[in-house]
């Protein structure tokens, strides 16, 4: 074991791991964090805490992660390179680890243009691959990125994202390989709706043996309505929602669309768990956390292993 991370331990059992997501609120509202987290408790192994998601100001991932720790949950502390330079990021990593946070996700983040501070300077001192390298260096070499020694180095289990649906598709396996080379331990993918395409990507991943070097969690987001399906298809960069899926959502009456979305999600997990190289599921039920227990149970991922 490289770390004390519960997620790492679950992966090591060989069972499918499950993570959820908690998006911090746009206000100093600790109860919102706690309520969301409480809905996930017992049904997931760890909970991603997003970092100024969609480039909108929210309660910091660090602070919200600390609330989760206090509830005896295991946060996956997300960090985007957009908002902070390497000094700020490394000091947050020290702080987080000191609060018992030992799992993180390294991202570059959505462009500022998509958020409510489009006028902000975006930092990008490091990119996500360089952040992975930095966190690994802190852990394995006990050194800051600048080279100085760290007293009691933070031992982070290091995650990153992969989007098999972005272009150029032929480059997407190589991009994963690059993250593996940089030292990533686990991957959470973009929400998967186009399962055929995901399978093609995974074939490429397995052909190179990358699934043996990194745990890959398939990203899942239940759709609440046909409107959401259309929005994701058209407006969200790097999202691939096949027409059949939009049609299937549109084909049921409005009041039954949410249930249809959950059904699709459970069916997807059932198919994806058979795909070689899939080590778990990352369920991003955005502002719909209360549905996670149902999804996890119906997909046969409950109870969660005790590690």
């Amino acid at each position: 074991m490289k770390t004390e991370s519960v997620l790492e331990k679950v992966f090591a059992t060989g069972e499918l791991a499950v993570t959820g997501e908690c998006g911090p609120p746009r206000g100093a509202l600790p109860d919102v964090v706690k309520n969301k987290a409480a809905m996930l408790k017992g049904y997931v192994d760890a909970v991603n805490v997003t970092d100024n998601q969609t480039a909108m100001v929210r309660m910091s991932s660090f602070a919200a992660s600390v609330f989760l720790r206090q509830m005896d949950l295991h946060p996956v502390f997300q960090m985007v390179t957009r908002d902070r330079n390497r000094l700020a990021m490394q000091s947050d990593i020290l702080g987080a680890y000191s609060h018992g946070i030992n799992t993180m996700l390294c991202l570059s983040g959505d462009h500022t243009q998509f958020g409510d501070h489009a006028m902000a300077a975006n930092v990008h001192d490091l990119d996500s691959v360089q952040l992975i390298q930095t966190v690994r260096g802190m852990r394995d070499e006990g050194r800051f990125q600048g080279g100085a020694e760290i007293k009691n180095p933070p031992k982070m289990f290091i995650g990153a994202a992969a989007n098999p649906f972005a272009d150029p598709f032929e480059l997407r396996v190589a991009r994963l390989a690059k993250k593996v080379k940089a030292g990533v331990d686990f991957i959470q993918t973009q929400c998967i709706y186009n399962i055929d395409k995901f399978e093609t990507w995974m074939e490429g991943v397995c052909k190179r043996g990358l699934h043996e070097e990194v745990y890959i969690m398939a990203g899942i987001t239940p759709m609440k309505s046909a409107g959401m399906a259309r929005y994701m298809k058209k407006k969200v960069p790097g999202m691939d929602v096949p027409d059949e899926l939009v049609k299937r959502m549109e084909g049921v009456p409005k009041e039954k669309q949410a249930q249809e979305g959950i059904d699709i999600c459970v069916e997807s997990i059932e198919r994806l768990r058979e795909v070689e190289g899939v080590s778990g599921f990352h369920i991003m039920a955005i502002e719909w956390e209360e549905k996670v227990p149902e999804i996890v149970q119906r997909a046969g991922l409950y109870p969660r292993p005790q590690v």
Binding site: D110, D125, Q130, P168, L171, A174, R175, K178, G238
Partner: protein
């Protein structure tokens, strides 16, 4: 070249408000090429300023000059005989030219008529695009001759991000994804395998991170 665009007329008028005589100074270099501040643009702005002043019922005396290079003290010196006769200088050069005038003529106000934008190249008639951010430690040899610092919206050195689609950047369909271009070029050069070399964290000291930069060449001093 350094590219620039003319400021809005109202902003220029406001900056020279209260001046009766101004010296409008263009530059023969980059801003001429990008049609922002050469002899032609100087003439156009001079008449526009006079018309705008007339409308306000004021007289404005505009003297026009276009220097060979406004960022070069040797040419800026040509302004010396005229400076005493004007209330202010309005510069149509890039920010370097404006500052060179300010440095040489300590008691004369100088205003920029342009917004200096980027270091770029022409992509066709009337189109210029950013190419370089002067990071001081050029990576182009590693990235197939396409700059990820200037041309990737997130400055990724190991892209592309998950937002790249159909060759375009996630920020706009009008912006090419730099990493898509890099990848295509690597394929053309037959060096795809180099893509997986991780480019490590950059030392920004050679760029803005190190504070204002200077070049000192002992051999030329």
């Amino acid at each position: 070249m350094i590219t620039a665009e003319r400021k809005p007329m109202d902003e220029i008028m406001e900056s020279i408000d209260g001046c009766g005589r101004i010296l409008l100074v263009g530059c023969n270099e980059c801003v001429t090429v990008c049609a922002a501040g050469g002899r032609k643009e100087v003439a156009l702005l001079a008449s526009a300023l006079q018309m705008a002043s007339m409308k306000k019922g004021r007289a404005l005396d505009v003297r026009e000059m276009t220097l060979e290079r406004q960022c070069d003290p040797e040419y800026v010196e040509e302004l010396a005989p005229h400076i005493g006769q004007v209330d202010a200088v309005l510069s149509m050069a890039c920010g370097c030219g404006v500052q060179e005038i300010a440095r040489r003529f300590k008691t004369t106000r100088v205003f920029p008529a342009l917004n200096t934008t980027f270091m770029g190249a022409s992509e066709g008639p009337g189109i210029w695009a950013e190419r370089c951010q002067g990071c001081g430690d050029c990576l182009l040899g590693l990235t197939g001759g396409i700059c990820p610092i200037a041309r990737c919206a997130k400055r990724l050195m190991n892209g592309p991000c998950g937002g790249s689609g159909n060759g375009k950047c996630e920020i706009s369909d009008d912006v090419d994804c730099a990493w898509h271009l890099i990848w295509e070029r690597m394929k053309e050069l037959g060096i795809e395998d180099r893509y997986e070399d991780v480019i490590s964290a950059k030392d920004w000291r050679t760029g803005r991170g190190g504070g204002p930069r200077r070049i000192v060449r002992e051999d030329l001093k």
